[in-house]
Symmetry: C2
Subunit: 293 residues, 2 copies
Amino acid sequence: MFDDILMEKIEYINNGLNKLLDIDDKPEILYDAMRYSVFAGGKRLRPVLCISSCELVGGDRDDALPVACAIEFIHTYSLIHDDLPAMDNDDLRRGKPTNHKVYGEALAILAGDALLNYGFEVLIHHALDSANCQNILRATEEIAHAAGCHGMIGGQVVDLLSENKNITEEELKFMHDHKTGALIKASVVAGAIMGGADDETIKKLSDYAEYIGLAFQIKDDILDVLGDESKLGKNVKSDLENGKSTFVSVFGLQRSISLVKELTASAIRILDDFGEKSEFLKSLTKYMADRDS
Amino acid sequence: MFDDILMEKIEYINNGLNKLLDIDDKPEILYDAMRYSVFAGGKRLRPVLCISSCELVGGDRDDALPVACAIEFIHTYSLIHDDLPAMDNDDLRRGKPTNHKVYGEALAILAGDALLNYGFEVLIHHALDSANCQNILRATEEIAHAAGCHGMIGGQVVDLLSENKNITEEELKFMHDHKTGALIKASVVAGAIMGGADDETIKKLSDYAEYIGLAFQIKDDILDVLGDESKLGKNVKSDLENGKSTFVSVFGLQRSISLVKELTASAIRILDDFGEKSEFLKSLTKYMADRDS
């Protein structure tokens, strides 16, 4: 049941992404490179959170779809740039060659730039087309802040600076709050804004998103130690090899596993306030904690 | 007289850029890297065009300032990424070491990403703060389109693909229309929108901007052949060494010089319609054609 609903939502989002990337312009190779990474098998977690949060507060998911797609474009750009030789130098992502392995480094940089820019283009068009301009702008502000220097990019810089260094719990938390947590939170909050939620509801869902964002990252670190390469589609133990501090290296494996459980329980407790409507998000929250890839 | 007015405008813009980049957050090195390239001696041509176009149509330049600054952030990000080893591999820009020479490649990629993202953050904040939200969104749409896959990034990809190849006049023009022309045009058009211009006026200024954008790029190619390295702050003949097609290689030097004159004259004829108010932009247009750096 949950699987079917999730699959339907992913298909809905993939259709949206497909339409937005069905661009007939030159140079073709740029659009190929953009599409390659967007359709390289992502789990669509952020856009699913975005439309589900919109639906949870009683909104129409069609209003949130362009926002959800823009978030996925921005997320994909960040993966392309993270994988570059000058950054994590990864050859595989989701079991496929990374963008720069297929298109070369220069085009990978530009395809990433183009996806970031296109995310904002989609949001601005949506705002100009809509009667609901103010909500779209507020959602865009959340996303822009989460993606930028105060969010994802700041976290990525801290990650770079932390290589081969022992970092404190506080620094580790700062890094992941920014690098992964911020955009996950923005996905949930932007969805709630698009659904017309009031400030109190937005605050609740923002707290919910903080819990799942942190749980998601800790789970990622656990999978890097315990995961199955064939399921993950990437090399395990890469954090260790790259000299990266992770929740597992700082807290230990057992404490990390407990933390995922605690954070997931806290997240679900917040969803209790929303009654039956929150069944899907509750299942998704558990699915995120239990995933093996 | 023109020099004094230009200097005053540049100072006005630099103050705006300074305030927007006066950010007290971690990680400091990211903000240092962003500031380094923004304050590495740019001519501020695009933001000057933006506020001047706003003033020309009777607007208040304070309304256009955040838009002008966002354009300069986006322009600066494009320079940082263009200079990367995987792209043009330039060590010097405006007589100073390029961003990746100072901060390393990874941080240069991220500082560029951060400036692109921050440009949109500034625009969105401005739209949310302002009574004039619709105009800011329209200006933002122009900028986003000009900076993205259909504009600057598309042009840069064509540039990459053209290395060590003979390209046609048409391909050369496509490349520069997109790579340089689009953002120059967006600067003028966005300024006019912020000044409250009607559609007919915007169309006129858009034509004006097309002429100066093309003249600007041809002049750039001429300077790469005839320029003085100490004034340019970069190596000349780099296009030739990189096997790049330029207006000089395609049209020859004499024809290129004539083209700059013709395009400049056409641009100034459009400004004639605006009477005395257009004196500054006329001088700026001549200054762009006569510049030696």
